[in-house]
Amino acid sequence: MTTVTGRGRHATFPPYLYEAYRATVRRAPLGPLLPGPRTLSEVTGPGPAVSALTAEDSDLTRNAGTGGEAIGERIIVTGRVLDDEGNPVPHTLVEIWQANAAGRYRHRRDQHHAPLDPNFLGFGRCLTDAQGVYRFVTVRPGAYPWDNHENAWRPAHIHFSLLGPTWASRLVTQMFFPGDPLLEQDPIFNAVPTDDARERLIARYAHDVTEPAWALGFRFDIVLRGPEATPFEPPEAGAPWR
């Protein structure tokens, strides 16, 4: 197992090269990453500009436009988007995508032998409100096989993309479900370097979010990186490659 650290000061971000996840082997950069500049170009970002243009489309059980409802265990996924000082990040565009309840994506490259649901597109988006809160209604995604290793299965997960307030706070991540036995064999989840950081990718069942006789509730808070001031220096000779 290669041990290269991910970016950032915290033991939070997965490394680019993580051999157990095979696709990283020929895609991870091997040269040193240069400390990022902190100019107006990086402390600005697209979030505030594009958010105003986006229509709300946060109910994945109904947004297929068929008039029918998606099949599966209906869930509400909500949470707050915070910066790393604990302040809410309002008006952030949150985009999600996921497999359907049977574990299949509506995507031409997904050939998993599982049914497609005509009433489920598998994607949605919304903006956080003034308190940084987002909320989606969807169905619990199914697990699905992939060809990374022998008998490999992705744990149930929802992909999240956030256009935060700055270029440096851009984040794409995945939300997992508590108690999923597939987590321990998933190299994508396990590429995150510490138990504590992996724990932050798992939503919590939230009974107060659950709506009686209608949908279970999960809470998943997301913390965006702030401006960790990294001085822009040329890499030192002999600096570790990552």
Binding site: H10, G36, S41
Partner: protein, 190 residues
């Protein structure tokens, strides 16, 4: 207590429906102020093979050098038809393209002006975290004084320069992104 950041994860191979929509790689409208340019390129892996499930994002200033963002409070015109953000998935040959405008110069902190540039992010299956880089224009004399570019090791600087292609009409620039290998693009860490 400061909360700790949420880790990144790969976009995987199935992000298209969730993240891409028609026209996200066309940043201009007819009224947009500025010189029309096209940016195009190929994303390749360590074997030189095209990456057909990558996504490229752009963030740039408008023709006056102003960002469409509340942190840019300089008294320069905002263009309501131009957000400065673009997004494009790669096709089966690893290609992406944007129709946009040439950005104006923006200040470097206490170091004069930066050369016109675009911030670029790359996402793909197999990238557990996205990669960030910068695109500069090889035919712009300002690149020789850009404070960020000058601090990139000289041998790798050319990976940040978009090459002007011979083309009729608006300028076309080619900016290939090499994820790994001898010609690996310079990526920045935040």
């Amino acid at each position: 207590m400061r909360p700790l950041p949420t880790p990144s994860q790969t976009v995987g191979p199935f992000f298209h429906g969730g993240l891409l929509r028609e026209g996200l790689n066309v940043l201009v409208r007819p009224q947009t102020v500025g010189e029309r340019i096209r940016i195009e390129g190929v994303v390749t892996d360590g074997d030189g093979r095209p990456v057909s499930d990558a996504m490229v994002e752009l963030w740039q200033a408008n023709a006056h050098g102003r960002y469409h963002h509340p942190a840019d409070r300089r008294p320069l015109p905002l263009d309501p038809t131009f957000t400065g953000f673009g997004r494009c998935g790669t096709d089966d040959a690893g290609r992406y393209w944007f129709e946009t405008i040439r950005p104006g110069p923006v200040p470097a902190d206490g170091q004069g002006m930066q050369a016109p540039h675009m911030n670029v992010a790359v996402f793909a299956r197999g990238l557990l975290d996205h990669l960030t880089t910068r695109l500069y224009f090889e035919d712009d004399p300002a690149i020789h004084h850009d404070p960020v570019l000058q601090r990139v090791p000289a041998a790798r600087r050319r990976t940040l320069l978009a090459r002007r292609l011979p083309a009729e009409g608006r300028p076309v620039y080619r900016f290939d992104i090499v994820l790994q290998g001898p010609d690996e693009t310079v990526f920045f860490e935040f």
